[in-house]
């Protein structure tokens, strides 16, 4: 029986990964932070299913700053695979709440690695690294060899965690994989991430529930993929015989403006009348030219992407339209 532990299971990637692993026959354990409201929208459909929850899926209260609890849970469930996805993941906010971002993303990863190091049979570990470690890269596209140059507290924390994963892999021989993930989106993306915000606004404007969309820098470009493809890549990376780092990306850049145009055209509304720039939403220091080269993952893992940019935005806008109409 294969047992997987997911940190960050309530997030976008965690929820898709949870579904994917359950479909592969895994027993899945997830760590959740305690909140006084137990609204876990992305997982609700799974854990409300009595055939699954308590049987093949279990959630445990734990926070990445609570080392004793982390140790107790990991020792108890003794996972064969551990997917480390948790962390404060919003780049703009990492300037506002720098200390807790660094604590969860950087030091949290260290705590986890320290516990794993002590286990007699350590699990294979997937660490969700990020394209933000490259910050302002000198070369395009970036690959596994590109030097790190983070430009925000989130990127710096991820760079720290990625380096530590490499160190623990080399020093202690633990099977640890860094997946250097470029942006990946879905209808479950956090509501204040830009793609989700745009797709939701396009749908809401279409249904006359909203009038205006305020955005920061619309010329900013990103390499955007479909979260389901990336989650499958995480699993593929851990099945590979040797522990290595892999870039997961599409290799294609699109601007925020492109997202706006695609999404509004999908919803059938005119962006010119509804989209405005708001300087308060500009980031302190923009990462630029982040585009990844997924050649290694494609060649070594046979990783393929099933959705392109247009398909991704179509899926997201249609999901928002369906969701808003259902209310």
């Amino acid at each position: 029986m294969r047992v997987a532990l997911i940190t960050g299971i309530t997030g976008q990637d965690g929820s898709y990964l949870c579904e994917f692993l359950l479909s592969k026959g895994y027993v899945v354990h997830g760590l959740v932070r305690r909140t006084s409201s137990i609204e876990r929208s992305r997982l609700r459909h799974i854990y409300r299913n009595p055939e699954v929850y308590g049987k093949t899926l279990q959630l445990h209260y734990c926070d990445l700053e609570d080392a004793t609890t982390l140790r107790r849970i990991i020792t108890k469930i003794s996972p064969s695979e551990l997917y480390h996805l948790a962390g404060q993941s919003h780049v703009g906010l990492s300037f506002e709440i720098a200390e807790s971002t660094v604590d969860s993303v950087a030091v949290g990863t260290l705590r986890l690695l320290e516990i794993i190091r002590d286990l007699s049979a350590p699990p294979r570990v997937f660490h969700a690294a990020s394209s933000e470690i490259f910050g302002r890269p000198l070369s395009m596209p970036q690959d596994e060899q590109t030097p790190m140059a983070p430009v925000n507290p989130y990127g710096a924390s991820k760079a720290f965690a990625t380096q530590l994963c490499r160190i623990y892999r080399e020093k202690y021989g633990i099977h640890i994989v860094n997946g250097i993930l470029y942006n990946h989106e879905s209808p479950r993306r956090g509501e204040n991430f830009v793609t989700r915000k745009i797709c939701r606004a396009a749908a809401a404007i279409r249904l006359c529930l909203q009038d205006e969309l305020l955005l920061g820098d619309t010329s900013a470009q990103r390499d955007w993929g479909d979260a389901r493809d990336y989650v499958r890549g995480m699993w593929q990376a851990l099945q590979h015989a040797t522990a290595e780092d892999f870039v997961f990306a599409t290799g294609i850049l699109h601007s925020v403006r492109d997202v706006v145009d695609r999404a509004f055209s999908e919803a059938g509304v005119d962006p010119g009348r509804h989209v405005h720039q708001d300087d308060r939403l500009l980031r302190g220091a923009e990462s630029t030219s982040l585009v990844g080269n997924p050649a290694k993952a494609e060649r070594v893992l046979g990783w393929k992407r099933e959705t392109d940019f247009d398909g991704l935005i179509r899926w997201m806008v249609q999901a928002e339209l369906a969701d808003l109409k259902a209310r």
């Binding site: 909140t35 006084s36 700053e65 919003h90 709440i97 720098a98 200390e99």
Partner: protein
């Protein structure tokens, strides 16, 4: 200039009621929320639905009681006249599972906030949400402001720490700081994993055919349960006094979980015995004794008294859960936090 209040734990039960009260009183209200990848905050949506309130006077900021630097910056930016520290990992049973995290947020978090106030160099009035759980293995019945503490859970230990920190900052730095020692207080906005809400939700769901069983721990546990909406008025009143002080806020009555079941299920013409099963997983490693508060000091000094008593409280919670689930089934409910952009 309107008064400015800063609330930690603003997305919780008490925080959301306190926001409504302070907005009604003309305050500019600043709330601190933790970052989560999902921005669904049902209790603040309930506030947002109050179109009679000046909602433009409510500002939310991202912060965390684990993030000292962010707290200093926020206190400096907002320059509050009143600070209400309501944030915590507040679930007693869960505090046995995550003691380290609970201590950090519930205990040290209070110190970080007090230190932020000291560093910024302002003297706002400070409210600390203390708890009846601090009495734990009780030394006297009923409990007053003079009753010694004997905490019986990581949560309660952390709350005692924060209580004394608040007293120390009052005595050492002359801060107008008050502890409200609040006994259990409930409402339709109570967290779904707290026993009263768990019961009222289950009764409504069973009535509507959505649930068949309800698993509970010790049915003989007794608590002093009041209405959260009235308890936040006591918080505010404490900060309007000439001096900071400590007050018990309670109903002076105690009831068992069994009585709660009886009232809740009877409200919907159900017999609780047909649905409830005992699950030892819900027993606490150490149970607290007879918690019953004597709030006569609050009555004398603040003119505060509980109005909604046990039966009425449980019934209003059942009615609310029944109505909102019925609406949900009819596709009428909205969960949308439009506050953040």
């Amino acid at each position: 200039m309107p008064k400015k209040a800063l609330i930690t734990g603003v997305s919780g039960q008490d925080g959301s009621y306190l926001v409504e009260l302070l907005l009604e009183k003309g305050y500019e209200v600043h709330g601190i929320v933790r970052r989560q990848s999902s921005t669904i905050r049902p209790r603040l949506d309930a506030v947002q639905a109050r179109k009679d309130l000046p909602l433009d006077k409510l500002v939310l900021h991202y912060g965390d009681l684990g993030d000292g630097g962010g707290l200093v910056r926020l206190v400096d930016k907002v320059q509050p006249d009143e600070v209400y520290n309501l944030a915590a990992q507040s679930h007693v049973r869960v505090s046995f599972d995550t003691p380290e995290y609970t201590s950090d947020v519930t205990g040290t978090g209070c110190i970080r906030l007090l230190e932020a106030i000291r560093d910024v160099g302002i003297k706002p009035r400070f409210y600390q949400a203390s708890s009846s759980e601090m009495y734990g293995k009780v030394r006297a019945v009923p409990q007053t402001e003079e009753t010694p503490f004997h905490p019986r859970s990581p949560y309660a230990v952390a709350k005692v720490f924060a209580y004394w920190a608040t007293v120390n900052y009052r005595e050492s730095y002359g801060l107008h700081a008050s502890n409200g020692i609040l006994f259990n207080h409930e409402s339709p906005r109570r967290g779904e994993s707290f026993v009263t809400r768990k019961i009222t939700l289950a009764a409504a769901r069973i009535k509507l055919g959505l649930q068949k069983r309800l698993a509970l721990g010790n049915l003989d546990s007794k608590r002093d349960w009041g209405y959260a909406k009235e308890y936040v008025e006591a918080m505010w009143l404490m900060l309007q006094q000439p001096e900071g002080d400590d007050y018990v806020v309670a109903t002076n009555e105690t009831h068992t979980i069994r009585e709660c079941l009886e009232v809740a299920f009877a409200r919907l013409d159900l017999d609780w015995k047909k649905y409830v099963e005992i699950d030892p997983r819900y027993y606490r490693p150490a149970e607290v004794d007879l918690l019953i508060g004597d709030s006569s000091k609050a009555k004398t000094k603040l003119g505060w008294e509980p109005k909604t008593k046990f039966k009425e409280l449980i019934e209003l919670m059942v009615d609310s859960d029944f109505e909102s689930i019925s609406n949900q089934l009819a596709g009428k409910i909205q969960f949308d936090s439009g506050i953040f952009h």
